[in-house]
């Protein structure tokens, strides 16, 4: 366990290598055969969130390489026994680069990769790599930090509602990054979390948003993929922050901004690496700087000074002078987890399973 953790962290730091290589250079001229690229999605391409954004990335590959690539997608693949079959079928039908875009596809991806050493696999959000399985993810928590600053200034009730999907580190990290920034600008504000146990269920997400609004929340954050919460916020006249894609048109009055996933650059770079024969396994955890996430256009209702603060935070994060988890950080019990002057390291971020001060309720364990 220890060695794998150390190795993993090492890989994380080494990740910038791939991230730095994002460029839209022309594909290799000597490439005669078409590269077939497969995508395995956990949701429908029309979810307006997570899967939709991966599909935008897939289309970016099509656009960048034209006839030199052929992309294939399989949508709504369940994270059970089915995943392995779909991944294997893609590998067996000549796809030389396969993106599996959900955490639950990790073990099936590794299993299939063993039988197809000449096929490259890219697994989103996982932590196990092998010679032909690379992992990638984005530092969405950087976007959560900016959302926290804005929410802290916009709230009147000082109650923020947060819709969580599953209590995994990725989501907990988002809640914590948001809460830390929120309380930096508004020490009175607190965060109420509702877990819906799904990534995509517009009915549940909408109901959770309404329940939070009924409890006094006037800004709704979500770590789920449908725009239902933004719609509910629009209906009730409170603020909302979208997830994964720009959800402005689902609630133009309420949509403050959104943390937008941007896979285009990474996908194009990785496809190009396979074509050039330079593909290497590893882990990529890129942030705002590497362009793996972006903030959706800010609502015009946000005052100029708040907007300026958000823009400055974004610039500072990109410049490396601001870290979303800069100490001092205390947990819910008031125990200091990070001392002043230090940042929480990637290992702690990747396995985060505690709430910071200001989050109400207990983290389900």
């Amino acid at each position: 366990m220890k060695t794998s953790l150390i190795k993993h962290i090492a890989l994380c730091f080494g990740a910038a290598i791939t991230a730095a290589g994002f460029s839209l250079a022309a594909p290799g001229a000597a490439q005669a055969e078409t590269l077939k690229v497969g995508f395995v999605y956990v949701g429908p391409v029309g979810d307006h969130g997570w899967t939709y954004r991966h599909d935008v990335g897939r289309k970016a590959i099509d656009k960048a390489f034209g006839d030199k690539v052929k992309t294939t997608l399989v949508e709504s693949v369940k994270e059970g026994a089915d995943a392995e079959r779909v991944i294997r079928q893609l590998a067996a039908s000549g796809h030389k680069l396969i993106f599996t875009t959900s955490f639950g596809f990790m073990n099936p991806t590794l299993k299939v990769a063993k039988s197809f050493p000449d096929v490259r696999f890219e697994h989103a959000t996982g932590y196990k790599q092998s010679a032909n399985v690379a992992t990638y993810g984005a530092r969405f928590y950087e976007g959560r930090h900016i959302a926290g600053l804005i929410a802290g200034k916009m709230t009147k009730s000082n109650v923020i509602g947060y819709i969580g999907s599953f209590p995994i580190p990725e989501v907990v990290r988002g809640i914590n990054a948001f809460t830390l920034a929120l309380r930096q600008v508004n020490a009175k504000a607190t965060v109420k979390v509702v877990w819906v146990n799904t990534w995509y269920d517009p009915g549940k997400e909408g109901a959770a948003a309404k329940a939070l609004i009924d409890q006094g929340a006037d800004v709704i954050l979500q770590h789920t993929d449908s725009p239902a919460a933004v719609q509910a916020a629009q209906e009730r006249g409170v603020w909302a922050v979208g997830q994964a894609s720009d959800m402005t048109h689902f609630g133009p009055r309420s949509h403050l901004t959104a943390i937008v996933d941007v896979w285009d650059g990474y996908y194009v770079a990785r496809a190009k690496a396979v074509m050039d024969g330079t593909w290497k396994s590893g882990d990529t955890w890129g942030g705002l700087k590497q362009g793996m996430l972006a903030m959706a256009p800010y609502n015009t209702a946000i005052p100029a000074d708040v907007r300026a603060m958000a823009e400055k935070a974004q610039a500072d994060i990109m410049a490396g002078t601001l870290h979303a988890f800069a100490g001092p950080i205390r947990d819910q019990m008031g125990v200091e987890k990070v001392s002043a002057g230090k940042n929480l390291d990637d290992g702690a971020l990747l396995s985060m399973n505690w709430y910071v001060e200001g989050v109400q309720g207990k983290l389900p364990k």
Binding site: P44, L73, V77, G80, R85, Q89, L90, S93, P167, M352
Partner: protein
């Protein structure tokens, strides 16, 4: 409220002496009609229908690997459907096979996690037993509520499904979480001794498949040859006669629900000890619910269910293949499966009933 309606009005009238041949032919007829209408749909989407049908029904099973995958996919469907068919025959409407499957996976998987890396030979049989018991225990709750309080088993078994899924979610997020898994919701991988042996290298065909086949034959024997099978059929067809004969309806509720639960639990255990190899929040893509369709498609007959399970499994595999090979969206497969069920139910009704067109002005109860 009374109103008068005039003109021609269709009415269903039961046919006297429904043809036995037709009852068995309707699924075939439904498949042919689905293929015909599906072809029109595919042509309208700009695809060559024979190519789509071939990708749907032939390519997925044109290799040994494909056949093995078909069997792997059909195994849980057939197991759950056979379990459900006992109840359905006796008018016991267990809708909660999905939850019983989940509990089987939890109980059997729990044994595997408890045994850890211990390579003892008893681990797998103990897991199978735990899977059977876990599923049966979950089905015992609706059985108790039905026999004691006359609570509707459709509701109780369905609601318990959500409880089971949340229980699994709690366990993999909490006490059974892999300590080396970065807090992700999943258990440790099971030790090799806790996995079902594979029957053919290079495939995922596991011991669960032949066990399922054996159980299907056994179920047929029970229904056709044993007294309990006779009782189940009598209670389902003519409850009054069953009462006169002194058959205990309560006992049959217990027997059918426990059997159904045990078989669904076994299906769940086969999934986690077979292709998945660990506990995780999603174990089944709804096998327990799809099994209801499989049970009726197979005419509640164990051997019919075997065929129906393979066919529905093929429709899922085909749905993946047309996405990969032809780029058809998943929704098209859904429409295709929906057509199949529509035609099956429609021809079923028309075989058992005839449409009468009444030409009369009748006073009519409306509402």
């Amino acid at each position: 409220m009374m109103r008068v309606e005039s003109g021609v009005r269709p009415r269903l009238e039961a046919r006297i002496g429904t043809s036995r041949t037709m009852v068995y032919l309707t699924p075939v007829l439904a498949v042919i009609l689905t293929m015909a209408c599906g072809s029109i749909l595919f042509a309208a989407l700009g695809h060559h229908p024979p190519a789509v049908l071939s990708a749907f029904f032939i390519q997925p099973i044109s290799s040994v690997y494909g056949l093995a995958e078909l069997t792997v996919k059909a195994t849980p469907l057939v197991l759950c459907a056979i379990g459900l068919s006992f109840g359905f025959r006796a008018n016991v409407w267990n809708i909660g096979a999905e939850g019983q499957l989940t509990l089987g996976a939890i109980a059997g998987g729990g044994v595997a996690l408890w045994a850890g890396d211990d390579a003892a030979a008893w681990v797998l049989p103990a897991m199978i037993l735990a899977g059977l018991l876990g599923g049966a225990a979950w089905a015992a709750i609706p059985a108790f509520l039905k026999t004691r309080f006359n609570a509707n088993e459709i509701l109780t078994s369905l609601m318990l499904t959500y409880v089971a899924i949340l229980l699994l979610s709690y366990l993999v997020h909490g006490p059974w979480k892999d300590p080396d898994g970065y807090s992700f919701p999943q258990s440790r991988m099971f030790a090799d001794s806790a996995l079902l042996p594979l029957l053919s290298t290079g495939t995922r065909l596991h011991l669960g498949a032949p066990i399922t086949l054996f159980l299907a034959l056994g179920a047929w024997w029970v229904m056709a040859r044993m007294f309990i099978g006779f009782q189940i059929k009598v209670v389902g067809l003519t409850p009054a006669a069953a009462g006169l004969a002194g058959f205990s309806v309560k006992r049959l509720i217990w027997v059918t629900l426990l059997t159904g639960g045990a078989l669904s639990g076994l299906a769940g255990l086969f999934e986690v000890a077979g292709p998945i190899g660990q506990l995780q929040p999603t174990i089944s893509p709804g096998y327990g619910f799809t099994a209801i369709i499989v049970a009726f498609l197979g005419r509640l007959h164990p051997l019919g269910i075997l065929v129906a399970g393979l066919f529905i499994a093929l429709s899922y595999l085909g749905g993946e293949t047309v996405q990969i090979q032809l780029g058809l969206p998943l929704a098209v497969s859904g429409v295709f499966q929906g057509m199949l069920l529509f035609f099956l139910l429609a021809s079923d009704v028309l075989v058992r009933y005839r449409i009468r067109w009444d030409r009369a002005a009748l006073p009519q109860e409306a509402g």
